[in-house]
Symmetry: C2
């Protein structure tokens, strides 16, 4: 199989290279056809804490070899190696000679699929490089920087025929999938309004002591560890919904975004910024005289985004990462027959629930448990984020083996990533509304949603 | 006292008349001074079901005489008379000779204060007429039609010195006031983001059988009864947040809108409209062949509005009245130290609540029960909407007796009413943001919030 891939790659390398940058595209809405593999060679681009979590899960599978890892940070390389040692797995080849060494990995290694779990800044160029090399891409989530970058992903896919799987794990959350099941059985009627978001107190993630990842100090950048090394800088420089996909991914499945529906425009509003500054000042290792007490953060503590969809629905996204609060993605799924809200774990369905009253959602979530969860529950136990990381990686590997279009593809990646730069624009222009490009070039009109239509993956 | 008022009125009638229409104003930010009355003459302008609820409460007081009622609907006149008979109270004089007969009431009767509870269309002109006649105004809530109308209210107040009390009862809801108490004790820190709204399934209010007010049929307009007679038409013709004040009133108190803070701009998004049509089609008295099945409703089933405030906060308002759902005003009060959410009856306060966990709000709501509720609880029992109607009318009467500025004054009325026309504009222009006028002409900067600063009213 690898020979097939390499031969194909050599044939397409010249036409594929740099297409994203010039904007020239071929009209390819399907991946190129390839024979199904029983086992694939996988690379990890970025083996920080998130990449390491993927390594652990992939090592449990008998249909993957992790053959190469690109990671410039020596501490993370050592931590990654330990995972292999603990599981008695043969060590992959490490490319850790700087940020660009992943290009050598792509050029030299025989790779079928790559998981990209690097800091956000690298996502697009790594994904483009992989697609050009015919390496099936699994791209970790984030928010985009520019609309151009989203088009690069689309254009490169259309030029190379290499699929990209956008690894939005929350689409596989058990309650999220049970609700999907209910939506598809028309329990909520025609959907009207949806909410989701990322409401997660990240203060102890964006700052630490440089050694321990969580809740350990007030350092960041070169003095920080893990995400504090790079993610914090985004809160200093940017204002908008920086992390929209955990909220919008599941919601997009409910209303078939890019599959019969699409985002039309959004408006975003941001608040003043207080949480991160207060965190530094009030922390026992910080204080008013700590150098970081002088930092000015652009990111408003709460960013709210409204998205209008072609089929007439509205979506509200909440971004709330700098204030003390319980974790909540804040889902709301509301249609002509009723609604579910995650925060009070309740739903109301007309003619079923007592009139004008909430019901506990739990019995419904059990009854409508998605077939995928029923089938694979045992394997998901222990996987990250309540098991959903198992499912997203499982689907990634199965799609990669067939080199087939994933449920969340490059068009979804582009549309979801685009929320961030559009949100930044809207916030900076006083919440004016800004339009989404149609990244599918009209194909959304007659494309079907393939996500979780069976119990396979 | 009445003689004093009449004498004053004659002195100011010429200058006051029509000032709202010409835009000429005097610079009066305080009501004219009048001696305190121990008992006042009250008129009811509009004694539909809402007006009748006010009559019942006012008849229980020994400091009010209801001397006149303007109500053109004979059915409502008869219902109103029954309330007086049941309570052995002397009947007021009724003005029911058409929509304009309230002007005769104002001209002929010796009235100190008026409660305006007519259909929305009459609110502003009735309020303007009362203010011009030096009648202390209690104005029921709704959304406005135009910014000009909001200025009329402000200009008339400034020209006449007659106070206007905007009767937003939800500001007096027990949990809302306990949270106000907590906000003022800095329990949530500096406030950052707030939510509220009107999420109330009104399908069975907007349509009925013409006799029974609720859940009785699919008729409206001339064939409907009570609110179905007139409110439904707004859902046919308008799209925007038609009823913002129950959500925004309490929130405005938390962040001192017009008292050190103000609304800067808003953006609104509306969805497709399905709920009211479906209700008619699926109702046992309706069906696909019922004439009202042909109605087209402009009002989107869910309207979301984001408001940016001068002190950097954001407010999200939910308007959701056409879909099956439990009643919920959806409050969220979030600051640098924690947040309260009404829908899950929970809060989180940093350093007090378990880290990253919700706590039941109930013990806090009890502990921080507002002094006003503690003092008057017994009297509030049985009053409408969980007792809060007692409080708003109590404050109205106490302020009217002193002819003093109420806690929710004409500037609040103008700002809150303005949300509706601004929301309609924003929705109709693709959720672009639209600015609020500063109805206070800069006075918001150094005005103090007087709402519920003691246990008096």
């Amino acid at each position: 199989m690898s020979i097939t891939r390499r031969a194909f790659m050599q044939n397409t390398a010249i036409t594929g290279l740099g297409l994203g940058l010039t904007g020239q595209t071929k009209s390819l809405a399907q991946p190129v056809s390839k024979p199904k593999a029983s086992k694939i060679n996988v690379a990890i681009l970025g083996s920080g804490l998130r990449g390491q979590s993927h390594i652990e899960l992939l090592l449990k599978r008998d249909d993957c070899n992790i053959v190469a890892i690109a990671e410039p940070d020596k501490v993370m390389v050592e931590r990654s190696k330990e995972i292999f040692s603990k599981q008695d797995a043969s060590l992959p080849k490490f490319y850790s000679n700087g940020d660009q060494d992943y290009r050598n990995l792509i050029a030299k290694e025989d790779i079928d699929a790559a998981v990209i779990a690097s800091p956000w800044r690298w996502h697009t160029e790594m994904a483009v490089a992989c697609m050009q090399a015919k390496i099936f891409v699994g791209l970790e989530v984030c928010g985009g920087f520019s609309i151009d970058e989203c088009w690069q992903l689309v254009n490169t896919y259309e030029a190379t025929g290499t699929p990209l799987f956008f690894l939005e794990n929350v689409c596989y959350r058990r309650d999220v999938m049970a609700i999907l099941n209910m939506v598809r059985q028309n329990m909520f009627g025609e959907l009207i309004h949806l909410e989701g978001g990322y409401q997660h107190d990240l203060r102890g993630v964006k700052f630490n002591d440089g050694v321990t990842p969580y809740n350990s100090g007030v350092e960041y950048g070169s003095k920080g560890f893990s995400e504090a090394k790079w993610r914090t800088q985004h809160s200093i420089k940017r204002d908008g919904d920086l992390y929209p996909t955990h909220g919008v991914g599941p919601v997009a499945q409910y209303i078939n975004i890019n599959k019969g529906n699409r985002f039309l425009y959004l408006s975003s509003m941001s608040t003043k910024s207080r949480g991160l500054h207060n965190y530094i000042v009030n922390h026992e290792k910080g204080g008013a005289n700590h150098p970081n007490a002088k930092l000015e953060f652009k990111l408003g503590d709460k960013v709210t985004t409204m998205i209008k969809c072609a089929n007439g629905e509205s979506i509200v996204l909440h971004h709330d990462t700098s204030l003390p609060r319980p974790y909540s993605l804040g889902f709301r799924v509301q249609g002509t027959k009723g609604l579910w809200m995650a925060v009070n774990k309740s739903l109301h369905i007309e003619g079923v629930s007592p009139s004008h009253r909430w019901e506990d959602a739990e019995p419904y979530l059990k009854k409508y448990d998605h077939p995928l969860w029923k089938r694979h529950e045992a394997k998901a136990v222990g996987a990250g984020h309540g098991g959903m990381d198992f499912f997203v990686l499982h689907a990634f590997v199965e799609c990669a083996k067939k080199f087939e279009n994933p449920p969340f593809d490059v068009y979804d990646a582009a549309s979801w990533l685009a929320i961030t730069p559009l949100s930044e624009q809207s916030v900076n222009m006083g919440s004016t509304s800004v339009p989404f490009p149609d990244f599918t070039r009209g194909r959304w009109i007659d494309t079907a949603n393939t996500f979780a239509v069976s119990d396979e993956y």
